[in-house]
């Protein structure tokens, strides 16, 4: 395959092919009931935390604004369920430190219908108003980055964009939520695309979907409105095809210059799930109260894609999906870049695309793997999609030569996709070392 892709000319060069394990691809999206308590952290996105506008004891209706955006680099949050604000307190989060969150006790008989809405006539809105409306939905990148969507759409002064790239790759193994969204909500997606095209003023849209999801490709093509400049393109299945730069490479055959954003090439990249939700939320004037999450892994009895209210604690999700008690590791996101979490009280937030549960067996198998010094097999160099040299970087990291890593070996370009660690026969935790090194370099730069 590596040879083939080298000459076939469609994908980026390197990358890996982990077993896809997309067991839930054939099941339709299921609804998850409310947990007794929902926990809505004020910071679920990259940027500034939202400001809470409720107080403990206050009753909230599903869809009601409970925290407002604190400036441009922030998004509001809406009540995921009808109930009573129980507390605003520190709660465990996926990223580690505890953070402020609004805890809502859900009414026993609460309906999942979103009652709180302000329908608007989208065709009457100016582009800037659409972007404002996007911010009001509280939308962030649902692919996992959780970057506020309205900022991505706002084209800065002097720049111009021509193409909207919709990322439907979902290259992480196990995850199928985007896949199901594309199959089941193709119309919503098209609606979302239409609004965003107006908001950004792009001339066309290209939807990139990995070619292991041809049913999604067909569904999307069927949904493309007549005459719309919306193109659906299948791209080779390869990890990390879903990374913006890799997708752009696959679609347009160009590399985004190091240190630059796709915006510099006139491209806006958004995730399919984001657009599909926007397509529904914008005209209805609702906020984001739920999302689709893949709950899967060897440790889950009833895996599937669940539409779940934001703020649902993981313990509830795992109970509902049937994850047995001897499960050893719970990962938010996919197996390649996902975050292992420490507490099952961590809530599902806007950026969580999957919940992966691994069993004791997989864990002991990995624990038994011996750590060797780098034997310089070069697999990581062949796997790194960014064209770095993880082998040398790893050796430098072991000797704490962080500044050399940054200056001579382009550490800053690493986006921690995990390919190098995935292939490493010596079991060196390369990504972890790079994360530490980047952190130290950042601190050094700040000091």
């Amino acid at each position: 395959m590596s040879l083939l892709s080298y000459f076939s000319g469609e994908a980026f060069e390197r990358g890996v092919h982990p077993a896809s394990c997309k067991f839930t691809a054939g099941q339709s999206i299921k609804r998850m009931p409310f947990a007794r308590r929902l926990v809505v952290p004020l910071l679920q996105h990259i940027g500034k935390p939202a400001r809470s506008i409720v107080r403990p004891g206050q009753e909230v209706v599903r869809g009601e604004l409970i925290a407002e955006a604190d400036g441009w680099m922030s998004v509001p949050h809406h009540a995921p369920a009808t109930g009573v604000v129980e507390a605003i307190e520190l709660r465990p989060t996926a990223r580690g430190p505890w953070a402020q969150a609004i805890v809502i006790r859900v009414h026993e008989a609460a309906t999942q219908e979103v009652l709180w809405s302000q329908p608007r006539d989208m065709s009457a809105l100016a582009p800037a108003e659409i972007i404002k409306a996007v911010q009001e939905t509280g939308m962030v990148g649902l692919g996992g980055a959780a970057f506020p969507s309205h900022i991505k759409m706002a084209v800065p002064e002097g720049a111009s964009v021509h193409t909207l790239v919709v990322n439907g790759c979902e290259c992480e193994p196990y995850l199928t939520c985007d896949h199901r969204m594309m199959v089941e909500h193709a119309r919503d997606l098209m609606e979302g695309i239409r609004h965003v095209m107006r908001a950004t003023g792009v001339a066309r849209t290209v939807i990139g979907v990995e070619d292991n999801k041809m049913d999604a490709v067909l569904a999307l093509r069927a949904a493309v409105p007549a005459g719309a400049p919306i193109f659906v393109q299948d791209v080779p299945t390869k990890y990390p095809q879903g990374a913006e730069k890799m997708l752009i490479m696959a679609l347009f055959g160009v590399e985004v210059p190091a240190g630059k954003l796709p915006l510099s090439m006139g491209l806006v990249v958004l995730n399919v799930g984001t657009l599909a939700f926007l397509g529904r939320l914008l005209p209805e004037g609702k906020g984001l109260t739920e999302r689709v999450v893949t709950v899967t892994g060897p440790g889950v009895a009833r895996p599937g894609d669940y539409r779940m209210p934001l703020g649902t604690p993981l313990s509830f999700v795992l109970d509902y999906a049937g994850a047995p008690a001897e499960s050893r590791q719970v990962i938010l996101g996919g197996p390649m870049m996902g975050q292992a979490i420490a507490s099952l009280e961590t809530p599902v937030t806007k950026g969580v695309s999957g919940i992966l549960v691994l069993r004791k067996e997989e864990m002991t198998a990995r624990a038994a793997e011996k750590l060797y010094p780098c034997i310089k097999c070069g697999e990581c160099v062949q796997a790194c999609p960014m064209g770095l040299n993880p082998s040398t970087l790893g050796m430098l990291a072991a000797k704490r030569e962080y500044s050399v890593m940054g200056e001579n070996y382009h550490l800053g370009d690493c986006f921690e996709c995990g390919c190098c660690t995935y292939v490493c026969p010596s079991n060196i935790p390369l990504v972890q070392q790079f994360r530490v090194a980047k952190q130290i370099l950042r601190e050094k730069a700040a000091a």
Binding site: V16, H162, V254, R328, M336, K376, H410, V431
Partner: protein, 383 residues
Amino acid sequence: MSATIEIRSAPHVKGGYSVEKIMRHVVYSLLPVCAFFVFQYGISALASMVVITATCLLTERFFVRTGTQSGSISDFSATITGLLLALSVPPGFPLWMGVVTGFIAIALGKALFGGIGFNVFNPALVGRAFAQAAFPTAIASYTASFLPGRFTEFIPSSLAWPLMIPPETAEWLKLKQLDALAGATPLGQWKFEGIVASAVDLMTSLGGHMAVGPSPLLIIACGAYLASRRFMDWRIPAAVISSAGLVASVLYAYNPSHFPNPLFTLFSGGLMLGAIYMATDMVTSPVTSRGVWIYGGLIGLLTVVIRYFSGLPEGVMYAILFANAAMPLIERISQPAVFGAVATKKARRSAAFSLETPASTLRESKDVVIPIKVVSNNQPPKS
């Protein structure tokens, strides 16, 4: 339940390769080669193989125990060193010299640098080069293969007293009335007597009584197994063989009477063993893509240059050692290009879309966008 949770860093899945697995499969792939070598030369070869490998393992164990180097015997790397060393010395190599060579290979070639993963030079070749310099006569004294009685009788030089000169095998052969078979290697015969052996015979090593190493054909087959399962980087042997073949062909075309035909060069001596098993030693070969080609090309070129123009008949070992020494330098000048570092707005590869002329480009016509993989009667409406 939360007590049983484990925190690990991403990624949470792993590819199927581990150091042990790679090394184990290299050993597996070496077994047929070793078996054939024993078939060719009988118990002397077997004894030499056992003694050298055992020495390597014991030395490794000693240095691991004393805390000088990392690694362990279970990673099979010392086994590989031992087997390769045994395959690259004559079958009648005195056993005591085998012990010295095996010790030097691990001590000087590996333990000195801190063990597996840190050595700069291929340990087997360090041992081999040491032996070549220390015992030049013994290491050049091959006997012919397929001698009668090879499974019951040792080649006398094998059993030389420690520190003593091994007895001449020529005398022994004369006693057995086989003195016509006194062994000069095909390369030696070419270099010193101008006799070019048949490439086909060399390739199979089955063409009668020849003083050759393990069969190149078998090595290629075993190497192909390793390469196909990605336990070996196929580009290195490819680079070595094509570069050696190219240089040899050019020289042959230039003066066919003075230089041997390229096939002879490729299949004689240790070129195949070196290209497939020694040059590909992961630790001592570059990790970068371009570096691998430069490295292999350098080995091929140097091998032919040393063979044809220097005083020695065989050059693979020195070529690889030299390339090992140059490896850090090669790697330094061949760092991979960072994604986007040399980016242009021009498409580097053929792609379905172009950036310059959105919405009007021809490439976005219906035929192009709809991929081959789509079942054709199910084309989406696009008008």
